[in-house]
């Protein structure tokens, strides 16, 4: 029985405003409990909300970047339920007239592009944090009231990998817009999923389960993979799926049903009487549209077009906005028309260095001209590729230019035929067996001999030249 997977993702993102959605408390992360609160976000009797202008602007910005239709008339609603992290026991959210809807996001699925529909993007306020102890729970309201954007996809995602792609693409876009830190560890980006399976070709959706507690993109991918397998096995064995909420357990790598029996929640939505509605006119939309920079996908396609890079390479370079900026400057500065060499350096050694230092390529602060210069050294055989990597590390650590480092560490590549000839002759003399092996047809022996010359020259010999010299010498 062949099944296909249907996934919908719901992402909640903290907007990076200075103050909360409905009051002037700071949104900074990590401060002492209940130190960033006021009567409004605490829901004290008599308090009233007033919407943060920047939160609304950011929300419109994201909606436009996700190709949504921003609604001209939008309002807030109360979502009523009781929970200790919700001080008013209702959340100010949006129900039937959300800020925007009907957008899309393009991702890679395999080698192709796939369009994932976005049902809606709306604004709401976040709840507080609960710390569970043995008999009691502790409540910290610092996070209460932080503006949240809820981004709901259509159930167009058909695999855990696509879900992962969707999440990383979304994060990339949000970073470009500079509206959120998108840090899952700090809780500024949260993701829930709805997943179901159905027989291939079937039109109606299968029973879905809701997955929560996925604390990283990888966890989301793993959780979805597990859940799909669980559902497949269950259906295959003749069972049926119960519509429920399941939590991902990252230690045991399993999903578990939540223990409380969830009655269908009746949120009793009604229009928020404390907030008059909002009218978003075309001028406002145009104004905000202007603040949207070139987004990752456009930039990626432009890199392909203007610099001849492959889509795959370009995609890596544009993922982070700052890196994309840095990369583009490098690509521009590189004098050749064929840009692959510098692209390879960015995607290869620089990305490696950045990852090992847990930062972005741009954070390495390698001056662009210095990088171009380094590559130039390699291209004219002044140093070997291997040596260049060492030089790069030094450049990052000390900030010294390549030429200094090459001189100090004596890394200049030896291409002088005379010097190398001498070394080669010595190596031939010292390794008769290998010589014999080569002469009797074993190609590897040549590489061994090249290696020996490299050793003799502390790695500085130009391996290509060495190889040619050895071949010549061994011919007779």
């Amino acid at each position: 029985m062949e099944y296909e997977t249907v996934i919908g993702l719901e992402v909640h993102v903290h907007l990076k405003t200075k103050t909360k959605a409905f009051c002037g408390c700071s949104t900074e992360f990590g401060n002492e409990a209940n130190s960033q609160v006021c009567p409004v976000c605490l829901g004290f009797p008599g308090s009233l909300p007033v919407l943060n202008k920047v939160a609304l602007d950011y929300a419109i910005k994201v909606a436009l970047a996700l190709n949504c239709t921003v609604q001209e008339y939008t309002k807030f609603d109360r979502k009523n339920y009781f929970y200790p992290d919700l001080p008013k026991n209702y959340q100010i959210s949006q129900y039937d007239l959300p800020l925007s809807k009907d957008g899309f996001l393009d991702i890679y699925s395999g080698e192709q592009n796939k369009r994932i529909g976005i049902r809606r993007v709306h604004l709401e306020e976040d709840a507080g944090k609960l710390i569970h102890k043995e008999d009691v729970s502790l409540v910290d309201f610092n996070r209460t009231g932080i503006p949240l954007l809820e981004i709901v996809s259509q159930p167009d995602i058909n695999s855990p990998q696509e879900a992962y792609e969707y999440l990383t693409t979304l994060k990339s876009i949000l970073e470009y817009l500079e509206v959120s830190d998108c840090d899952m560890e700090k809780g500024s980006l949260r993701c829930d999923a709805n997943v179901s399976i159905r027989k291939k070709g079937q039109v109606e959706l299968g029973t879905k389960t809701e997955l929560k507690n996925m604390n990283s993109f990888k966890a989301a991918k793993d959780a979805l993979a597990f859940e799909i397998e669980r559902q497949t096995e269950l259906l295959g064995g003749g069972g049926s799926i119960i519509q429920e909420t399941r939590l991902w357990n990252v230690k045991e790598l399993k999903t578990y049903a939540m223990r409380t029996k969830e009655e269908a929640m009746d949120y009793r939505y009604f229009p928020e009487p404390d907030l008059p509605p909002f009218i978003i006119n075309p001028e406002k939309i145009t104004e905000i549209q202007k603040t949207i920079p070139e987004l990752p996908r456009e930039k990626m396609l432009r890199f392909v077009r203007d610099y001849g890079l492959s889509e795959q390479d370009a995609k890596i370079l544009v993922f982070s906005k700052r890196d994309a900026g840095y990369s583009e400057e490098c690509l521009e500065a590189y004098p050749q028309k064929f840009k692959k060499p510098i692209a390879n350096w960015l995607i290869g050694p620089l990305l490696q260095e950045a990852n090992s230092r847990n930062c972005n390529i741009a954070d390495l602060k390698v001056p662009i001209q210095a990088l171009v210069e380094l590559i130039n050294f390699v291209e004219r055989d002044a140093i070997s590729n291997l040596a260049a990597k060492t030089v790069l590390q030094e450049m990052i650590d000390t900030g010294k230019p390549a030429s200094n480092i090459i001189a100090e560490k004596n890394l200049a590549q030896i291409s002088d035929a005379n010097i190398l000839n001498t070394q080669a002759e010595e190596v031939i003399k010292e390794n008769p067996k290998s010589v014999q092996d080569y002469r009797s047809g074993k190609g590897n022996a040549l590489m061994f001999l090249v290696g020996q010359v490299m050793k003799k020259t502390q790695g500085k010999a130009n391996p290509k030249v060495v190889q040619e010299i050895l071949k010549k010498l061994l011919k007779n």
Partner: protein, 95 residues
């Protein structure tokens, strides 16, 4: 419309209010009368009438993203029935 005791019990639970049996009995009767009276609204012709959720013709009330002073944790927790350090304390949320 008739409102049954079961409905009242269900709604009281939604509203997180515990009603004693006599209360439930009495309240069901009173609510039945009140709803009976309210039902006269069914006679009004509301076709093509838009609802009024906000009586004032104002829109787009916004404030600037400027930080304001927050309460100190002590002030925030001053009225708390149960407090531990700078946290509010509630009975365990059983999950």
């Amino acid at each position: 419309m008739a409102i049954t005791k079961e409905t009242v019990k269900y709604v009281a639970n939604l509203a997180r209010i515990e009603l004693k049996p006599q209360e439930l009995e009495k309240m069901s009767g009173q609510l039945k009368d009140i709803l009976g009276f309210i039902d006269k609204l069914g006679k009004v012709d509301i076709k093509n009438i838009s609802p009024t959720s906000h009586i004032l013709p104002i829109n787009n009330v916004l404030r600037n993203d400027h930080p304001q002073e927050s309460l100190s944790a002590d002030k925030a927790l001053e009225n708390a029935p149960h407090r531990e350090g700078n946290f509010f304390v509630v009975p365990k949320v059983i999950e």
